[in-house]
C-alpha cells in the first residue's frame, strides 16, 4: 500500500513532496499570472469585455513606435541606476561603518531599517509632504543657508525623478545594509589582521579584503535592488502619477495607465512582458560579469 521509505522511488519522491505545497502556491500566484500576462499581450483585450482577439505581435510592434514607452524606458533606467548607486554603494559603506561601531549600534541599525517596514503608500505621503515647495526640505535648506538649492522637487522636470528615487532608497536601503552586515560578519577577521600586518590602511583593507569577500553578497543585493527598483509603482503613483507631464513616468506607471486606466490590457500586458525581459537581461548580464570575475 505504502512505499518503502528506503526505496529508491521514495527517496526520489521525498524532495518533490516537500516542495509541492510551496511549488503549488508559486505556480498559482506567480507562474500562472505571468503566463496570463504573456497570453494577454498577444490580444487586444480591454480588460472588461469577455471577448479578446489574438493580434499576434501587434502590441509589441506598437511598443517600438510608442515614444512614451521609450521615455518611460529611459526614466526607468535612470531611476534604477540612482537606486542601485545608493542602495548598493551607500548601503555597503554604511554596513562597513556599522560593523566597526559597537556603541548604539542596535539603535542606529534600527533607525536605518525602520523605513523598510513602513508601507510604501505611507512613505509616499511623507515624502510628498516634505517635497512641497513650502515643505520641510526647502525650509531646512533655507535655514542652513542653502536656499539656492531649494527647488519645487515634484514639479521640476530636472529634479523629480532623482527626488523620488532618493525617497525610494530611503525606504529600502535598510534591507541592503542588513544583508551586507550579515555578509561582513562572515568575513574572517584573520584576513583583516593579515592586511594590518602588511601595512594596509582601513581604506585598503576595505578595497582588498572587504569588497572581494562580499562579492557574492553584493550580487544578491544588486539583483534584489535591481528587481525591486524596476517594479516600483506606489511611490511614483502616489506622489506625481508620472508627472510633471511624464518626467517621472516609469514603465510600471505607464503599464498601469495603459492597462488599468485606459482599458488597454493587451497593450499594458506587452509593456509588462517588456519589463520582465529587461530585468531578466540585466540580471543575466550582471551574473555573467560576476562569474567571469570570480573565475
Amino acid at each position: 500500500m505504502f512505499l518503502d521509505p528506503d526505496s529508491k522511488l521514495a527517496q526520489r519522491l521525498n524532495p518533490i513532496l516537500f516542495l509541492l505545497p510551496a511549488l503549488s502556491i508559486y505556480i498559482v500566484f506567480a507562474i500562472y499570472p505571468t503566463y496570463s500576462v504573456l497570453e494577454y499581450s498577444f490580444t487586444d483585450w480591454d480588460g472588461i469585455n469577455p471577448e479578446r482577439n489574438f493580434v499576434g505581435l501587434e502590441n509589441y510592434q506598437k511598443l517600438f513606435s510608442d515614444k512614451i514607452f521609450w521615455e518611460a524606458f529611459r526614466n526607468t533606467f535612470v531611476w534604477s541606476g540612482v537606486i542601485i548607486v545608493i542602495n548598493v554603494g551607500l548601503g555597503l559603506v554604511i554596513a562597513a561603518m556599522l560593523a566597526r561601531v559597537w556603541k548604539a549600534r542596535l539603535l542606529i541599525q534600527t533607525c536605518i531599517v525602520l523605513p523598510v517596514v513602513i508601507s510604501p503608500m505611507a512613505v509616499a505621503t511623507i515624502w510628498r509632504w516634505m517635497y512641497q515647495p513650502t515643505g520641510v526640505i526647502n525650509q531646512v535648506l533655507e535655514k542652513i543657508g542653502l536656499g539656492a538649492f531649494a527647488t519645487p522637487w515634484l514639479g521640476s522636470p530636472d529634479a523629480v525623478l532623482y527626488a523620488l528615487a532618493f525617497a525610494h532608497s530611503w525606504s529600502t536601503i535598510g534591507l541592503s545594509v542588513i544583508i551586507f552586515l550579515a555578509g561582513l560578519q562572515a568575513v574572517d577577521e584573520d584576513l583583516y589582521e593579515a592586511a594590518r600586518v602588511d601595512g594596509a590602511n582601513p581604506l585598503q583593507s576595505f578595497r582588498y579584503v572587504t569588497l572581494p569577500a562580499l562579492r557574492p553578497v553584493t550580487a544578491v543585493v544588486f539583483i534584489l535592488t535591481l528587481t525591486q527598483s524596476f517594479k516600483v509603482f506606489d511611490i511614483v503613483w502616489a506622489t506625481t502619477q508620472g508627472g510633471p507631464i511624464r518626467f517621472s513616468e516609469i514603465l510600471s506607471t505607464y503599464m498601469y495607465k495603459r492597462g488599468a486606466l485606459e482599458n488597454q490590457y493587451g497593450y499594458g500586458s506587452a509593456i509588462g512582458v517588456a519589463l520582465l525581459v529587461i530585468v531578466s537581461i540585466a540580471t543575466i548580464i550582471y551574473m555573467q560579469i560576476q562569474n567571469r570575475q570570480d573565475r
Partner: protein
C-alpha cells in the same frame, strides 16, 4: 409534553434559522471618493438598514485613483459590488455596457417613476440605444472659492470683469501673496476643472456638445483660445511660480489656513474645509469667475458627479433599486444628501425646506443659479471622456503650465486621442430612452 414542546421549539429554531439568515440579502455598494467626502453613504446605509430588516447595505469606499482599477477586474470576474458609482457621459461607461457588465435600468425607470426625479438632460447622459444604464446623481458645480477676510484687508471687491480680476490678482501679488489663486496641479486632475470651465466659457454649451456628440474637434478655435488663456495666466504667476509641484490636498490646507486667497474647486471640499477652518469658515465664500473676454457669457459648470450602476450578474437587483430609491428619491435620503453638501438631481424645493446646507454650499449653488439661463457646461470633462483622452489632457495641461507646450499642440494631441477613441468605438452615443 413539556419536553416535546421544548424539543419542537429547538428543532424549529434550528430549521428556520438558516432560512432567516438566507432571507436577509446583502447589497454591496462601492463608492468612489476621498476620505471624509463620502461619509453620507455610510449614514444613508445605516438608516436604511435600520428600516429594512431583510436587507443589509454594506458600503465600501475607495479613493478615486484606485476605484476603477479595482472595480473593473471585479466586474469582469462576475463579482464586485451589486451597486456602484461610476463615470457617465460618452466616454467612460461604454466598455462596461458593451461588455454586458451592467444592468439595463429602463424597466426600473418606468416602474419607479424616476422620470419625475431625474431631469431629461441627465437621462441623456446615462442612456444609450434607448436604454437607461445608470441613475445619474450628485449634481456638481465648480466656483471660485475665496477668502473674504483677505479680500477685505486688501480692499478688493469680488471681481466681475476681466480687468477687475487682473487688478485683484495684482493687488494680492503686491501684498505678498505669491500664489493668488491656488492650484494643486501636481495631482493633474484639479487643472482639468479649469480646462472644463474655460473650454465651456469659450465654446459655449453648443460648442462642447458639438465635440462630444457631433463633428466638432478639440482643435476648434475656442478650445485653442481657452488653452492659450490658461497658459497666459500661468505665465503671469496667477497660480504661483510652481503649481505643478503642489498637491491638491496640501494646497487646500494652505487655502483654509489663509495662506492662499483663492482657489477654483467644488462643493466637495466644504465638509473638510469646515473642519480645517473651524470658526473661520465664515471668512470664505464663492464667486463666479468673470468672463475672460469682452462679450463672453458666464456658463455655470454643472455635471453629475457620477452615475449609479447595478451589476448585471447581481442577485440583489431589486434591493439595490430600492436603496437607490431611498437615497435619491425619498425625502429622507435627499435631505441627508443635502445636509452633507451633496446635491441630488431633480427638484429641490421640498428637500431644501428641511435641509440645512452649509453656507458655502448655498453660496456656490447661488453662483450656479445666477447664470443658469445662459446654459451650463460640463464641470468635469475628464469624467465623461475616455481614459486615453484624460491621460493626454492631464499631461498636456501640466505642459501648458510649465510652458513647454503650445496651445495648438495641446489641443491637437487631445483631438488625436479623441479621434482614436472614436475610431476604436470607445465612445458611447447617448440619446435618451424611448417613451412607454
Amino acid at each position: 409534553m413539556n419536553n416535546f414542546v421544548r424539543i419542537s421549539a429547538v428543532a424549529t429554531t434550528i430549521a428556520v434559522l438558516p432560512a432567516l439568515v438566507y432571507a436577509q440579502s446583502e447589497v454591496v455598494v462601492w463608492v468612489a471618493g476621498e476620505p471624509g467626502q463620502t461619509n453620507v453613504y455610510d449614514d444613508l446605509a445605516a438608516t436604511y438598514n435600520a428600516q429594512n430588516s431583510d436587507v443589509t447595505i454594506s458600503v465600501v469606499k475607495n479613493s478615486s485613483d484606485l476605484f476603477n482599477p479595482a472595480l473593473i477586474p471585479a466586474l469582469s470576474a462576475g463579482e464586485g459590488p451589486d451597486l456602484f458609482s461610476f463615470g457617465t457621459g460618452p466616454g467612460q461607461p461604454a466598455a462596461l455596457i458593451a461588455g454586458g457588465l451592467v444592468a439595463d435600468l429602463t424597466d426600473a425607470y418606468f416602474e419607479n417613476d424616476w422620470g419625475s426625479t431625474i431631469p431629461e438632460g441627465i437621462v441623456v447622459q446615462t442612456s444609450s440605444d434607448g436604454k437607461l444604464w445608470a441613475f445619474g446623481n450628485e449634481v456638481e458645480t465648480t466656483g471660485m472659492f475665496y477668502n473674504k477676510a483677505i479680500f477685505a484687508e486688501n480692499g478688493i471687491e469680488v471681481p466681475t470683469t476681466w480687468a477687475e480680476m487682473e487688478a485683484a490678482v495684482a493687488t494680492l501679488q503686491g501684498a505678498g501673496f505669491n500664489t493668488p489663486i491656488g492650484l494643486g496641479a501636481a495631482d493633474k486632475w484639479p487643472i482639468s476643472h479649469w480646462q472644463s470651465m474655460m473650454f465651456g466659457r469659450y465654446a459655449g454649451p453648443e460648442g462642447i456638445e458639438n465635440v462630444l456628440f457631433g463633428d466638432g474637434a478639440w482643435t476648434d478655435a475656442p478650445f485653442v483660445a481657452a488653452s492659450a488663456k490658461l497658459q497666459e495666466m500661468g505665465q503671469a504667476g496667477w497660480f504661483g511660480s510652481t503649481p505643478v509641484a503642489i498637491g491638491y490636498g496640501e494646497l487646500m490646507d494652505r487655502f483654509w489656513a489663509g495662506e492662499v486667497p483663492m482657489t477654483f474647486t467644488g462643493p466637495w471640499v466644504i465638509g473638510g474645509g469646515a473642519e480645517a477652518a473651524g470658526d473661520r469658515i465664515d471668512d470664505f465664500s464663492v464667486f463666479a469667475f468673470p468672463p475672460f473676454e469682452d462679450g463672453q457669457r458666464i456658463h455655470p459648470t454643472n455635471s453629475i458627479g457620477s452615475g449609479w450602476y447595478i451589476r448585471e450578474s447581481s442577485e440583489n437587483k431589486e434591493a439595490a433599486i430600492d436603496f437607490m430609491n431611498y437615497m435619491f428619491a425619498s425625502q429622507d435620503g435627499r435631505v441627508a444628501l443635502l445636509n452633507a453638501g451633496t446635491v441630488p438631481v431633480g427638484p429641490l424645493e421640498e428637500a431644501l425646506s428641511e435641509a440645512q446646507m452649509p453656507a458655502l454650499a448655498v453660496d456656490i449653488w447661488k453662483t450656479s443659479d445666477d447664470y443658469a439661463a445662459n446654459g451650463s457646461v460640463p464641470a468635469f470633462l475628464d469624467t465623461i471622456t475616455p481614459g486615453s483622452l484624460t491621460t493626454v489632457s492631464y499631461d498636456g495641461l501640466q505642459a501648458l503650465l510649465l510652458d513647454v507646450m503650445t496651445p495648438e499642440v495641446f489641443t491637437a494631441e487631445m483631438q488625436s486621442a479623441w479621434a482614436a477613441a472614436k475610431e476604436a468605438g470607445e465612445i458611447m452615443l447617448p440619446g435618451g430612452i424611448a417613451e412607454r
